[in-house]
Amino acid sequence: MMRRISPNHDRLQSLSGTWRDINGMPSLMSIPGDEQTAAHLGIADLSFLTRFGVKGAGAAAWLESRDLEVPDRPNTWRSLPDGGIIARLGLTEFLIEDSLHSSFALRLAEACQHVPDRVYPVLRQDAAIVLCGTAIPDLLQQTCSVHFQSFSLNDHPVILTLIVGVSVTIIPIAPDRYRIWCDGTFGAYLWETLATIVQELGGGVVGADRLI
């Protein structure tokens, strides 16, 4: 059985910590001392979560027909039952990410064998990152020209922008919890650049355990 490999695998391999296979992907779950790091500023790889993408004029209706509650406004997100995320990217594209306990992605991928008109599946192979800690604003101020404080978290905003020159999707879950997705082939560059700045700001890489 072929294993899935995270776009950030090479950078995490050298770190000592506890690894576990999740959804067929070797994943770094904890690093000694990462509790303190996570409180101040931590970066972790969540690429192991399963994901599904779809776009097109018919995508919203199709998702609803599969019993998903779809965000009604562009660039907003909702929680899925069992803890996943469904994000509306712009007007007609959706990103669905499972938690460890849900499997919408798999079911939707299977349903894609027969999709109706104007529903276009989008294969997602993101590098998925989570930032945690109180110093997140310092990191974002160095790397992104969007004023995150101007968004109200109650609106569940989804922000498509550039971080260090890379196209990303960002969701501020909480003031000390930000999710970031980017094209996997940019993953190495994004991770290395952010991890360097995270370290300069007194933070570090953390395991995924405390963040899912």
């Binding site: 490999i5 992907m25 776009k55 104007r118 989008v122 294969l123 192979q125 160095q142 082939t185 993953g187």
Partner: protein, 976 residues
């Protein structure tokens, strides 16, 4: 040592409990924490702080406001240290720049003797002679320069950052503070920046010995300090105004890119010097500099002063001097009468006041490190000196308080229209752009109380703009006297009356320039170089403008100002460089390549293996071996950088028909076809493969560099056309691996159950299959000209798939090959590379690609232009060529030209040594009439050598495509 240090002054910036040792020009000095270099030196009696740029004249303190370019110093590796504002640091080792033999005995001051031969426009004229230019260049390089670069200085990278606010107030003087409070009180998020070490501005030093101003300023500062909506950044320079409220803030550590919804310019004004002979001597000093010396650094500026005034500020300075022990030898007022209360109050005090007089000249002391006297005389109605009535007054300091110029740089850069106010003798904002406001002296408001009101007024306007308050009508009373004199300039037959201290420009340089025809402010600037020195005209532009106005008979408003450009003060390159962000892409197989000793190259923004290094072998040897492995057994290459797209929908075929030049709607499911993309002008811009996976589903590839721009353009086209289809960009989501060579099928068959026979999976077919349960798309493509498969899989499975393929290929001696081997193998097949073998004007007609274009389609991009071009004869055609098999010597390179009868008849586009054919092969463009197969050609190398070649048909290798036929795949070699 500190013979000029005053007893403690309330609010002084120095900390007397922390003395600091430093050296200047080899001599040891002591100052205090909080001193600047200049204040510490002046306090110790050191008056010569530097030498001027051109004449190497001794110079001292002029402004103490970051305009004193003549006291630029070098501190170890640190260049461009501005002594007037740079804080003193322990152990600083300072030297003056631009001297021969030190600041005290600069030998280059002998240049002054040649000054008659160094007229204005000297540089311009000297450089006109090409023959003499090298001599001038050597001479000027030796004589000038503002420091010695130490090339071992470490590179400093500073982390830039973004910041945001509702309102940015530039300047923490009383008007700016007042403005900030009025807006913050209405709920706006306010940032105040000030370039000084502490906030408060002139409210802390333009006192006239009255505590009231200090008290009011401190009241405002206290309110700011405790305000939850105000951030105050001192020692921070707002360096320019860029579009939409984008302001770079520079502090000691970094550059912050501030986005402000509204900006209030409260930058104040620069005090302007008077122009008279020897006005540059140490000891001739601006009155605000005097006040800064006293109130910030507790330094007595001089013992005995002549104070030249034309405004109330000057009289206040007189009071500040008197109360700190300086004797006033005379007050010289350019005006005829006492115009202010403070002036009148002075009159009561038995201080000699000369109304309607000017300072005609300053006399140097014997040591030439200061002044000994001021020569004054009356002036007539036109401001001309009446030298018959001169008087000499002994003094060791001449204080100038003759006027101001607004620090309006940011306002100009924001697009403000300024007008010249005759009463104020200053440019003031006339039309401000949306979201930009001004208050205080930059707005022409000088009186202290009025500055507070003006600050509040601009704050309320900004608040209304931000939607936070109502516009309230606020009236500002007009100034009771003009703060600036229209003509504080005195001509002198012996010259040395300086207008620009940075560039050593004297008064006479200006009429001389105008006489030569440079009578417009922009021309005058460039010819004289006024305002082009390191302080960028802050103390000289206004006087230059006045002189030009007088000479040409215009008003200053008519003369106008030159364009103001960022940065406001110099910015260190380390801050601008910051940390560069240069995105890079890597395929999921990157670590596999690294483990195999790949030498990586950048292909666009992708990292790709150029070749795989082997111990003891050169680059060329490695590449040849990789190519041979593909030809003889089997090779594997990561082609994951290719653009990969899926298009679905009822109009999918229609869309492809429109954007590509060929025919696709008749493709059978399971087949692939070469696809050529043109632009509107009919020029080839990309090529790839289209595979049909279903009636309404296609999968297509583009070149690596084309992927992103093509996807964007296709999105735009579908936005316009609104066809019933959708395109998904899978470039990063899918990995692609190419397996090529006669054992490729053997390797793949170990991993999949799919029938790989040539009947079930013919050349150019596409199949979907599974490898260990994972979906893959397989295509048999031409590529390098061997039996092979391009395998597309989701990126997360790429590493696992690569490992499986290598393992399966072990018994066949499978070898990874890189970009260079790939290019060589493809060249052997005569495949062209868009952008290498085509350029920005190449059409399919010239590149031998007519076969890929179906002109009978209803519409495709480039069709109409090709219809036009098809009517004309082509001027060049792509041909293959080969060198003689025994060729020795330097082979031709890309872009070498073909010559026939002394004419350029073509150029090489690709060339390489082919191991399969054992000779050099290449592609080139040739005039069609000279392009017959078998024709000889002459290629001219860069050094003029001619290399002979012969035109050949392509493909060079396996022209009959035998390698794609099942019955020949077991053959060892294929004859060419």
């Amino acid at each position: 040592m500190n013979q000029r240090r005053l007893p403690p002054i309330s609010g002084e910036w120095i900390d007397r409990s922390r003395p600091i040792q430093f050296t200047f020009e080899g001599t040891r000095f002591t100052g205090y924490a909080g001193d600047t270099i200049a204040s510490a030196l002046w306090a110790s009696g050191q008056q010569i702080l530097g030498r001027s740029f051109k004449y190497h004249r001794p110079r001292g303190i002029l402004s103490l406001a970051n305009h004193d370019v003549n006291s630029l110093m070098q501190s170890g590796q640190r260049l461009n240290v501005r002594a007037d504002v740079t804080p003193l640091d322990d152990g600083m080792t300072l030297s003056a720049i631009n001297t021969f033999g030190g600041v005290m005995g600069d030998r280059a001051s002998a240049i002054e003797l040649f000054s008659p031969f160094l007229p204005v426009g000297f540089y311009y004229k000297a450089f006109n002679s090409k023959r003499l230019f090298p001599m001038w260049e050597r001479l000027i390089r030796n004589l000038t320069g503002l420091g010695q670069v130490d090339f071992s200085t470490p590179h400093i990278r500073t982390a830039k950052r973004y910041d945001f606010c509702d309102l940015l107030v530039v300047g923490a003087g009383v008007s700016g503070l007042s403005a900030a409070l009025s807006v913050a009180d209405l709920g706006a998020d306010v940032v105040i920046v000030d370039e000084n070490a502490k906030a408060g501005g002139s409210g802390h030093y333009q006192l006239g010995n009255e505590p009231f101003r200090v008290e009011k300023t401190n009241e405002l500062l206290n309110a700011i300090e405790n305000h939850p909506k105000i951030r105050l950044y001192t020692q921070t320079q707002a360096s320019g105004y860029y579009a939409d409220g984008w302001i770079p803030l520079l502090d000691h550590d970094r550059l912050t890119k501030m986005r402000a919804k509204a900006v209030i310019a409260a930058n104040g004004a620069y005090e302007q010097p008077a122009v008279f002979r020897n006005n540059d001597l140490p000891g001739v000093i601006l009155s605000s500099a005097v006040q800064r010396l006293i109130y910030r650094y507790a330094v007595k500026p001089m013992n005995r002063a002549v104070v030249l005034v034309a405004n109330a500020d000057g009289y206040r300075t007189v009071l500040d001097l008197i109360s700190n022990g300086v004797t006033i030898a005379a007050v010289v007022d350019l005006r005829d009468s006492l115009n202010s209360d403070v002036a009148r109050s002075l009159d009561q005090q038995n201080i000699p006041i000369f109304l309607g007089y000017c300072v005609y000249e300053a006399r140097a002391n014997p040591g030439r490190d200061g002044i000994s006297a001021a020569v004054i005389c009356p002036i007539d109605a036109n401001g001309n000196p009446q030298t018959g009535f001169k008087q000499t007054i002994a003094c060791d300091g001449i204080v100038m308080s003759v006027g101001w110029a607004p620090a309006a740089n940011l306002l100009y850069q924001a697009g403000t229209k300024m007008r010249f106010d005759k009463g104020l003798q200053q440019f003031v904002p006339d039309q401000l752009p949306s979201g930009v406001f001004a208050c205080g002296r930059v707005n022409g408001v000088f009186e202290f109380e009025q500055k507070l009101i003006d600050g509040r007024r601009s704050g309320l306007e900004a608040a209304a703009y931000l939607g936070l308050g109502e516009r309230i009508q606020v009236t500002i009373s007009p100034e009771r006297e003009s703060p600036s004199h229209p003509w504080a300039i005195v001509e002198h037959p012996k010259g040395k009356n300086f207008v620009d201290f940075d560039e050593d420009l004297q008064y006479k340089d200006f009429p001389n320039a105008v006489q030569e025809g440079f009578d417009n402010i922009e021309l005058l600037k460039r010819y004289t170089t006024v305002g082009m020195g390191a302080s960028q005209g802050k103390h000289s532009n206004m006087n230059a403008l006045r002189i030009l106005a007088r000479i040409t008979g215009k008003t200053p408003g008519e003369v106008g100002t030159t364009t103001s450009r960022p940065f406001f003060h110099p910015v260190p390159l380390s801050h601008l460089a910051g940390r560069g962000f240069t995105p890079e892409r890597r395929t999921p197989l990157h670590s596999r390549h690294a483990a195999l000793n790949a030498k990586f190259m950048l292909a666009g923004i992708w990292k790709r293996p150029e070749y795989y290094a082997q111990l003891g072998k050169t680059r060329d040897e490695c590449i040849a071996l990789e190519a041979q492995a593909v030809r003889h057994q089997v090779g594997i290459i990561d082609v994951g950088t290719l653009g990969k797209f899926e298009i679905r929908g009822a109009d999918a075929a229609e869309f492809l028909e429109r954007v590509y030049a060929g025919r696709y709607r008749n493709m059978k499911v399971g087949t692939t076809r070469y696809a050529l993309m043109l632009d509107e002008t009919g020029v080839t811009i990309d090529d790839g493969i289209i595979a049909r996976l279903g009636a309404e589903q296609f999968y297509f590839t583009t070149t690596t560099s084309g992927a992103t721009p093509i996807y964007r353009e296709l999105s735009r086209l579908n936005t316009m056309w609104q066809l019933d289809c959708g395109i998904v960009n899978l470039t990063g989501a899918r990995s692609a691996i190419n397996l090529a060579g006669r054992y490729a099928r053997d390797v793949l068959s170990k991993l999949t159950d799919l029938d790989l026979s040539s009947v079930a999976f013919p050349y150019l077919a596409v199949r979907e299959a599974r490898i260990q349960g994972i979906s893959v798309v397989l295509m048999r493509v031409g590529f390098v000209g061997e039996w092979g498969y391009e395998i597309h899989v989701a990126a997360e499975y790429a590493s696992a798939l690569w490992d499986l393929l290598l393992k399966a290929g072990l018994e066949y001696d499978i070898r990874p090959f890189g970009v260079e081997a790939q290019r060589l193998l493809r060249l052997e097949k005569g495949h062209l590379i868009i952008g290498q073998d085509t350029d920005g004007l190449t059409t399919p007609l010239e590149a031998g690609l007519k076969w890929a274009v179906k002109m009978d389609k209803p519409f495709f991009i480039g069709q109409r232009s090709l219809q036009v071009l098809a009517k004309r004869p082509i001027k060049q055609t792509l041909i293959g060529f080969m060198l003689d098999p025994n060729f020795q010597g330097t082979p031709p390179q890309e872009c070498h030209l073909m010559i026939a009868r002394d004419q350029i008849v073509g150029r090489v586009t690709s060339v390489a040594f082919s191991p399969s054919l054992s000779r050099h092969i290449g592609l080139a463009y040739m005039r069609p009439e000279l392009a017959e197969i078998g024709d000889p050609i002459s290629i001219r190398l860069s050094d003029g050598t001619i290399v002979s070649a012969i035109i050949t048909s392509t493909p060079f290798y396996d022209p009959d495509q035998l390698r794609q036929r099942e019955d020949v795949t077991q053959r060892e070699e294929v004859t060419v």
